[in-house]
């Protein structure tokens, strides 16, 4: 039994030694990897109507997953890449990959020490991309966001594949819910938009509200997300531009053969993209839509009933919604000029109840929202719905309707807000089935 004594002593001491081994931040071994999931170059990946992904099988477009016979894209698998709809970055040669990784790390650092090099000081100031803010944001991101949105903001964290809709992949620089004018080109959101999304969460998705964090914390997170998004987009465009798919070899290689100085070639490209995309972000901060005043009085003070003008507005909204695709069976016909403008029903078939699945810019399956369901992902304030109609939803197929007259947008807003509630529909005198 004497042999037990040292063993027991060791056993007692071992846990004490273990205590406090881990650090509270990222270990230096953790770096951003160069992306491995396919670049989606076009959202016309297949025909409409596939059932969506199930929990646990998120990225149906993951290259290895297209080889899976149970993947609905299986039949098209090979041609997706040949037709240039997808590009598979796993085919980049190891040498080029190391080069790209090194360059990106030089510009953006690693999760433990994030930075954005190569942008002018104005952008750094406006977008708050200084190192202190970013590293504070990165710590918060590790605690609160990483498990869904992934280390590089790719939406592929450990729990990411278990939720539907899938966590946003920031690396396209596209964000869905913005209050920025999107009429000419898709723009990144303003810091305020990101802040609000963090603060209120996105109802109807697994994104919860983070308003238990302080305002400073949220601002830090916003900066870090901009950092991730910039890095991702630079990486995306660099791979898209600099590397070309060679169907004969089945590999991605540097486009221009003549250059032996691969490092400088990629470095120049990255440098150009960083300042270009940062400019986009800076520009967005000033392009917020100024929402016009709301023209109606909604409720009668005495009786708590809808006013006549609200009812009319809602009914106008329905006609605008149905547009040219109005169904004779429903007995609703819009007037000519109204009908041309909105025509929401072409995607929100049967008010979205029978909408079809489509691919979005990220290559995931989405469908137009069922508007009889009261959940509004972009926020359920009237102003939020206004923004959705005005600036659309980037990447999802919902286009900006900024050409609509403001009052007509308000009509649509009123209609959309009435739609989910039978009692309100009845009061406003509209029927949907």
């Amino acid at each position: 039994m004497t042999k037990i004594l040292p063993l027991a002593a060791f056993a007692l001491l071992a846990p004490i030694v273990l205590v406090g081994c881990g650090s509270d931040g990222y270990s230096s071994a953790i770096v951003y990897g160069v992306r491995t999931d396919p670049l989606v170059l076009d959202d016309k990946l297949g025909k409409e109507g596939y059932e969506p992904d199930r929990p646990g099988v998120l990225p149906i477009l993951l290259a290895k997953d297209v080889d899976n016979p149970f993947n609905p894209m299986y039949e098209k698998g090979a041609s997706l890449f040949k037709d240039g709809l997808l590009r598979d970055p796993t085919k980049i040669s190891d040498k080029d990959r190391r080069t790209l990784s090194k360059i990106l790390q030089a510009y953006f650092g690693r999760p433990g020490e994030p930075q954005v090099a190569g942008v002018d000081s104005t952008a750094t100031r406006i977008l708050k991309l200084d190192q202190d803010t970013l590293s504070a944001g990165s710590q918060l991101y590790r605690l609160h966001c990483l498990h869904c949105h992934g280390l590089a903001g790719d939406g592929r964290g450990p729990t990411g594949r278990w939720v539907n809709p899938h966590p946003r992949d920031y690396r396209l620089g596209l964000f869905k819910f913005t209050s920025v004018d999107q009429s000419d080109v898709p723009r990144p959101p303003s810091r305020g938009d990101l802040y609000r999304t963090l603060q209120t969460g996105i109802d109807g998705t697994a994104m919860p509200a983070f308003n238990m964090l302080t305002g400073d914390d949220l601002q830090n997170l916003v900066s870090y997300i901009i950092h991730l998004s910039l890095r991702g987009k630079v990486e995306f465009e660099t791979i898209k531009k600099a590397f070309d798919y060679d169907p004969a070899k089945g590999t991605l290689s540097i486009t221009e053969d003549g250059r032996d100085d691969v490092y400088n070639y990629i470095d120049a490209m990255v440098s150009e993209f960083v300042s270009l995309f940062a400019k986009d972000w800076v520009e967005s901060q000033t392009k917020t839509i100024a929402a016009p005043s709301y023209p109606y009085a909604d409720f009668d003070k005495e009786t708590r009933a809808m006013t006549a003008e609200l009812k009319e507005s809602i009914q106008r909204g329905q006609k605008l919604f149905l547009g040219e695709g109005a169904d004779k069976a429903k007995g609703v016909m819009p007037s000519k000029e109204e009908a041309k403008k909105a025509n929401c029903v072409s995607c929100h078939i049967d008010y979205g109840r029978q909408a079809r699945y489509k691919f979005d810019a990220w290559g995931t399956l989405v469908k137009a929202q069922n508007l009889t369901n009261p959940i509004r992902r972009g926020g359920d304030r009237p102003i939020d719905v206004f923004y959705r109609i005005h600036s659309g939803i980037n990447g999802s197929g919902m286009v900006a309707h900024s050409k609509l007259e403001p009052n007509h947008i308000w009509d649509l807003v009123n209609f959309v807000q009435t739609l989910p509630f039978p009692a309100m529909r009845k009061a406003a005198g509209i029927e949907i089935d």
Binding site: I4, P15, G56
Partner: protein, 599 residues
């Protein structure tokens, strides 16, 4: 397991190795099989608990040793993994450690020996009850490795978190949580098998105890261990089928699209569940209808064993023997009508809560009687501080805490505050760890000589006790304070709320204590295996105990007794008799007037 067996065993030469140690129908071998498998699961469950503690104390740090698994989560443990850890910790400890050890190992080993029977009434059934555990072992362990990981909805597995499923035929994944898919189904099936095993066992125990007692072993001459096992078996027979139904129904919900526990139109992002109409509270009622009695299934055998051990080592008759029996029966009887006290805040009609509260508070009464009777037993005793006795006394000392803290929860208004806080965690661990597990340790130290014909090292046994006793209090007592402060249970990161973050120092103290407590158990493991092979050989009756099993050889051969024992007296007559010292085995027939040992 090369235990030196006396020559009697060789009277059955037809048994080969396999039928002797694996498919044995001998109750003692089956009991030891239960003991060994459950002790392995004790290590698994303990490991899970330590991981839980490490995460709680340093929620933002990399997990030592395991961080390689979580590189894609920045080295931290994902929250769903943490939920899996505590869910599996509880499931493993309850269904694979405490119940199998108490009912399976000790029940099997002691019942025929202590009532003087040759074996169980149905040896084949008995063997089956062990082998029905194996599918459960395989299923529960494999649930760690399936897609999504092991179940993470808590051991209570409340719908709809646990049971939301994809439409029938579209896979077992769950929109509510990754772990509620395949892992949950395996968990449900595993528990169903545990239930079948326990049910076979309980029918067997009841039959054996009613019909197989040795001549003279009247009901009121049975040791408390047997009484406790008897009442436990009755509890199992009545309560288990209800859990089985609940488990089956939830399995159907998850696989073929029934909706017993699923209301319709639940929204999980893009998933909106289809037809429903079921009720989530129904599961809670069914579950607690079993699982509240299960709490007593997990404590009553320990109480019985502790009564025997205390009486033996205090060299005193058990005080209030019949009161002890009635209080066990009272606990069991009341145990069937108090399940609602787990559901005071669950949305159950609050008027029902009032009724459940009164019944629940009254359960404290038989428990109090038992404590007083144990105190009465050591009063004026001659206490011999063996490791078994120390664990038994530790049981009493700490069961008092567990019992008293239960009164807080039974009081509905107070429960509003402490429900789902660490106060509950403290309470269940005082009842299940420092009581049930202490009882198990006491039983192992006590019956080890009978099981393996060797004695465990007493010195290291006492060291093991001393450290375990102090550290268990270091781990679990501060949890009361956490609970009073309102720290919620089942959260991996207490810094999410500033109010709760204040408890960090206490949490770290608990974790360090827990790690050391875990390490201390290595002493026990080494002692156990060392003694198994090298321990001091024990005679028939190393403790001078009165009960029947000590009159059989050590280890008892197949068939237990050389001749059918005849019982002449109660089990606890540790009174001085001229010429016998204070050792009056139940088989001892005295000339002259009968002894009248009271309690």
């Amino acid at each position: 397991m090369s235990v030196a067996h006396p020559a009697e065993v060789h009277a059955h030469p037809e048994m080969n190795f396999l039928s002797k140690y694996f498919f044995s129908q001998d109750h003692k071998v089956i009991g030891i099989q239960f003991l060994f498998t459950s002790l392995i699961f004790l290590v698994v469950g303990g490991g899970l608990a330590l991981l839980v503690r490490v995460q709680l104390a340093w929620p933002h740090a990399e997990i030592p040793l395991l961080s390689w698994m979580f590189q894609d989560n920045g080295g931290r443990m994902p929250e769903s993994f943490y939920n899996m850890l505590f869910s599996m910790h509880a499931s493993v400890m309850i269904f694979f450690v405490i119940i199998p050890v108490l009912a399976g190992a000790f029940g099997n080993f002691t019942i025929p020996l202590m009532i003087g029977a040759k074996d169980m009434a149905f040896p084949v059934l008995n063997m089956l009850s062990y082998w029905f555990m194996w599918p459960a072992f395989v299923l529960i362990l494999s649930s760690f490795f399936v897609e999504g990981g092991g179940p993470a909805a808590g051991w209570t597995s409340y719908p709809t978190l646990s049971s939301v499923a994809m439409p029938a035929g579209e896979g077992l994944q769950s929109p509510a949580a990754p772990n509620s898919g395949h892992g949950q189904v395996l968990w449900l099936l595993a528990l169903t098998f545990v239930g079948i095993s326990s049910m076979l066992g309980s029918v067997n125990y009841i039959t054996t105890i009613i019909n197989m007692r040795a001549p003279g072993m009247t009901l009121y001459r049975m040791p408390m261990t047997i009484w406790a096992m008897f009442i436990t078996a009755i509890l199992q027979a009545f309560a288990l089928p209800v859990l089985t139904v609940a488990l089956i129904l939830q399995t159907l919900d998850k696989t073929i699209g029934t909706t017993f526990f699923l209301p319709d139109g639940l929204t999980f992002g893009n998933w909106i569940t289809g037809p429903g109409g079921g009720q989530t509270l129904l599961w809670q009622h069914l579950f607690w209808f079993y699982s509240h009695p299960a709490v007593y299934i997990m404590i009553l055998p320990s109480m019985g064993m502790v009564s025997d051990i205390i009486s033996t080592f205090a060299r005193r008759p058990l005080f209030g023997y019949r009161a002890m029996i009635y209080s066990i029966a009272g606990i069991a009887g009341l145990g069937f009508i108090v399940w609602g006290h787990h559901m005071f805040q669950s949305g159950m009609d609050p008027r029902l809560g009032t009724g459940f509260m009164i019944a629940t508070i009254m359960i404290a009464l038989p428990s109090a009687i038992k404590v007083f009777n144990w105190l009465g037993t050591i009063f004026h005793g001659n206490i011999q501080y063996t490791a078994a006795m120390l664990f038994a006394l530790g049981f009493v000392a700490l069961f008092i805490i567990g019992g008293l803290s239960g009164i807080f929860m039974a009081a509905t208004p107070v429960d509003i505050f402490i429900h789902d806080t660490y106060f509950i965690v403290a309470h269940i661990h005082y009842v299940l760890f420092t009581s049930s597990i202490f009882g198990i340790f006491a039983g192992i130290y006590y019956w080890f000589p009978k099981m393996f014909a060797r004695q465990m090292n007493e010195f290291w046994g006492r060291v093991h006790f001393g450290l375990t006793f102090v550290l268990a209090n270091c781990v679990f007592f501060p949890m009361h304070i956490l609970g009073v402060g309102g720290l919620r249970r089942r959260i991996p990161d207490i810094t999410a709320s500033p109010r709760e973050a204040a408890f960090m120092p206490l949490n770290q103290f608990i974790t360090i204590s827990a790690l050391v407590l875990g390490a201390v158990q290595i002493i026990f493991v080494i002692n156990f295996f060392y003694s198994l092979f090298r321990g001091k050989p024990a005679g028939r009756n190393p403790w001078n105990s009165n009960t029947l099993e000590w009159s059989a050889p050590s280890p008892p051969p197949h068939g237990n007794f050389e001749t059918v024992p005849i019982v002449f007296r109660g089990p606890y007559e540790y009174v001085e008799v001229e010429g016998h010292g204070d050792h009056l085995p139940q088989t001892l027939k005295l000339e002259g007037p009968a002894p009248t040992a009271g309690h």
